[in-house]
């Protein structure tokens, strides 16, 4: 297997569209790297440039230290699995797997042996003489994988290979690919727009937006330490809640003021003195909280938090995704939470009004409230909050949690 390195890679199309710009990434030998991002962010373009299916407008691509910009796809010794598998419909599974070996003039006996070994590895022995149209989605996916494996490539490139599978099969194939990657110690570059796929499979993830790298890191790193609002919003399901307001000076605890002036004191989180966040006190800020770090109590509860009304409930069995609309801040001492309503100023902000006044809470276990109930939303025992600069949208450091 091999390492892959992209240095200041750029892709500009003839019509002037820039698909990828200043892309730097180093993929280690035997690593499963996942490129993730919304549609049109350039992740497939990066993969196609590594494969040699797209020219590189500027920058350098190195595979195992060798410059590959102008090398033909076949000489790069890469294998690619396409979203629609791209199996040759008129050929049997055997011939589909065998073609690359045949084109490399590998003797017939060797070819037969390698095809059968690969088919056995992926459990395709019984369908070797079938045509792709006779196979199920999962089998086709495995044929596509076999076709990649049989060549013994330096790098595997996978372009959304699970998106045509149903949810159950997808989870299965996800595990299979991870196992296979570990067994073969393969260098894999995997493209997906599904962040669950990225989180569960990757050694490291690259989050992309508008052709540029937003952050590279392990799944845990991206989840815990997102570099900016985009990564924070993209990684995690449901997405992080982002609230618009400002930091207020006062007690030790983090105090977040909504633009109406109502102050939410988050008692178990504080700002480190002299930190970047400390400097932001008195200025505008985005406050980010993941749905799984919030909890809900009934309005009659004495707990301090945000007063809200339940707007919708999505029960998922073991947990529920609850959408609530904020109506006010409830202090521990206050008995009338809805006294002054929260209204959020959206001027100069990229977030929609709805996003700021409605927040999502992930509740473990059975959810006891129904739509229309008044509730208190508060940070749970595992609090993680994030602050983001409203202009640069970068993470502001200096928060200390779990006092």
């Amino acid at each position: 297997m091999a390492s892959v390195r992209l240095e200041s890679v750029r892709k500009e199309y003839e019509n002037g569209t820039i698909a990828v710009d200043d892309f730097n990434l180093s993929i280690n030998d035997g690593e499963l790297m996942i490129l993730v991002g919304p549609s049109g962010c350039g992740k497939s373009t990066v993969l196609r440039m590594i494969a040699g299916l797209e020219d590189i407008s500027a920058g350098t691509l190195l595979i195992d230290g060798k410059r590959m910009n102008d090398v033909s796809p076949v000489t790069r010794n890469i294998a690619m699995v396409f979203q629609n598998y791209a199996l040759y419909p008129h050929m049997t599974v055997r011939k589909n797997i065998e073609l690359s070996l045949k084109l490399r003039r590998i003797p017939k006996t060797d070819r037969k042996l390698r095809v059968e070994e690969t088919a056995a590895l992926l459990g395709l022995e019984d369908v070797l003489e079938s045509r792709p149209a006779q196979l199920s989605g999962g089998q086709r996916q495995r044929v596509a994988m076999s076709r990649a494996i049989v060549r013994d490539p330096s790098v595997f490139l996978l372009d959304e290979p699970l998106s045509n599978l149903d949810a159950k099969l997808r989870a299965q194939v996800r595990r299979d690919i991870s196992d296979l990657q570990k067994r073969l110690c393969a260098t894999m570059v995997f493209v997906t727009h599904d962040q669950i796929e990225a989180m569960t499979m990757a050694d490291r993830i690259v989050v992309m937006r508008d052709g540029q790298v937003q952050q590279v890191g392990t799944p845990n790193d991206l989840y815990k330490n997102p570099k900016n609002v985009f990564v924070a919003d993209f990684i995690g399901s449901p997405s992080m809640n982002i609230l618009n307001g400002c930091l207020v000076a006062g007690s030790d605890a983090l105090q977040f003021a909504f633009v109406t002036g109502q102050i939410w004191e988050i008692r178990n989180v504080k700002i480190k003195k002299g930190s970047e966040a400390f400097d932001k006190i008195g200025g505008p800020i985005f406050l980010g909280i993941r749905p799984e770090h919030l909890a809900i109590e009934g309005a009659e509860s004495k707990i301090a938090g945000l007063s809200a009304v339940v707007k919708s409930v999505e029960p998922l069995g073991g947990e529920a995704i609850v959408l609530v609309e904020l109506i006010g801040v409830k202090d521990r001492a206050s008995s009338n939470p809805g006294e002054s309503e929260i209204s959020v100023d959206t001027h100069g902000s990229s977030f929609s009004d709805q996003k700021q006044t409605q927040i999502v809470v992930k509740v473990q276990g059975r959810f006891q409230f129904t739509v229309g109930d008044e509730v208190i939303v508060y940070l749970n025992d595992d609090p993680m909050v994030y602050l983001f600069d409203t202009e640069t949208q970068m993470t502001v450091t200096g928060i200390v949690e779990a006092l």
Partner: protein
């Protein structure tokens, strides 16, 4: 519809009626629904009944039809592939010109083409009928092949490219085997056209040895002062058999070809 259908079938009925009439009794009075007696011997007599036996014409027709069809299928596949898959400067302009050629009737190029072949000394042969079809032939075929290739996902080509195939190999190993229905459809249309072509041979095939079947049939039975309509129609009827059989045998694939290329109705 049935009545219109019947009217459309009337000339064919009349052709069959005449084909099985005894020579000399084609216009016997009173007319009968089927000829009496049915002259089955016309089938046997037709090949050698005219001034010149039909076998020579048949040979020329087979050469013309097969070589021209082969030329069309090869060059139209290549051109269709180039327009659908290869990137080269002026591709869209060139394709536009090709499609515009659909609007140009044969008669417009008929005289310049004749002068050209006359100049290179090929005018009295079937080669001027065949050679143009080894250079693309009809734009319709190019258009049809392009549309078909566009319906095949480009990822299949890309997968083959990564597997080590060049453009020739992609066309030959990956795309053409998938194109059988459309090649059959196109081939059938071409065979029918070349087999029945009369205008082309009339222009180029002046001497007896190059005449094709439609030309020969007319020459044999209609050009003298005593037209033999029974044998004339029988030879025309026999001439229909190859194309009709081809169409009947390949009917299913013929329809598939147009459906796959996105040009068919539902």
């Amino acid at each position: 519809m049935t009545i219109i259908g019947m009217i459309m079938l009337l000339p064919i009925y009349y052709m069959i009626y005449l084909a099985f009439s005894k020579p000399g009794t084609e216009y016997a009075w009173p007319p009968t629904f089927i000829p009496r007696p049915i002259a089955w011997e016309n089938i046997r007599d037709v090949p050698n009944s005219g001034d010149v036996p039909l076998w020579g014409y048949l040979r020329n027709s087979i050469i013309y039809t097969s070589l021209a069809t082969l030329g069309c299928l090869i060059t139209q596949s290549l051109a269709g592939f180039a327009f659908a898959r290869l990137r080269f400067p002026g591709r869209n302009l060139l394709f536009g010109v090709t499609v515009a050629m659909l609007l140009m009737p044969f008669v417009v190029t008929m005289i310049p083409r004749f002068l050209l072949f006359n100049k290179i000394g090929l005018s009295d042969s079937i080669w001027p009928l065949i050679i143009p079809f080894w250079f693309g032939g009809s734009p319709y075929g190019i258009f049809l092949m392009r549309q078909f290739f566009l319906s095949i996902p480009p990822e299949i080509d890309e997968a083959a490219k990564i597997d080590g195939a060049n453009s020739w190999r992609i066309l030959w190993t990956i795309l053409l085997p998938q194109s059988v229905p459309v090649l059959v459809a196109l081939g059938t249309l071409h065979v029918a056209y070349f087999w029945n072509d009369l205008l082309g041979p009339l222009i180029y095939c002046q001497s007896q040895k190059w005449k094709t079947l439609p030309q020969g049939i007319i020459f044999n039975y209609q050009s003298n002062w005593n037209p033999q309509y029974a044998l004339f129609m029988m030879s025309a009827l026999l001439m229909l058999i190859p194309t009709a059989t081809l169409f009947l045998v390949l009917q299913r694939r013929f329809k598939q070809g147009f459906l796959f290329s996105g040009l068919g109705g539902r």
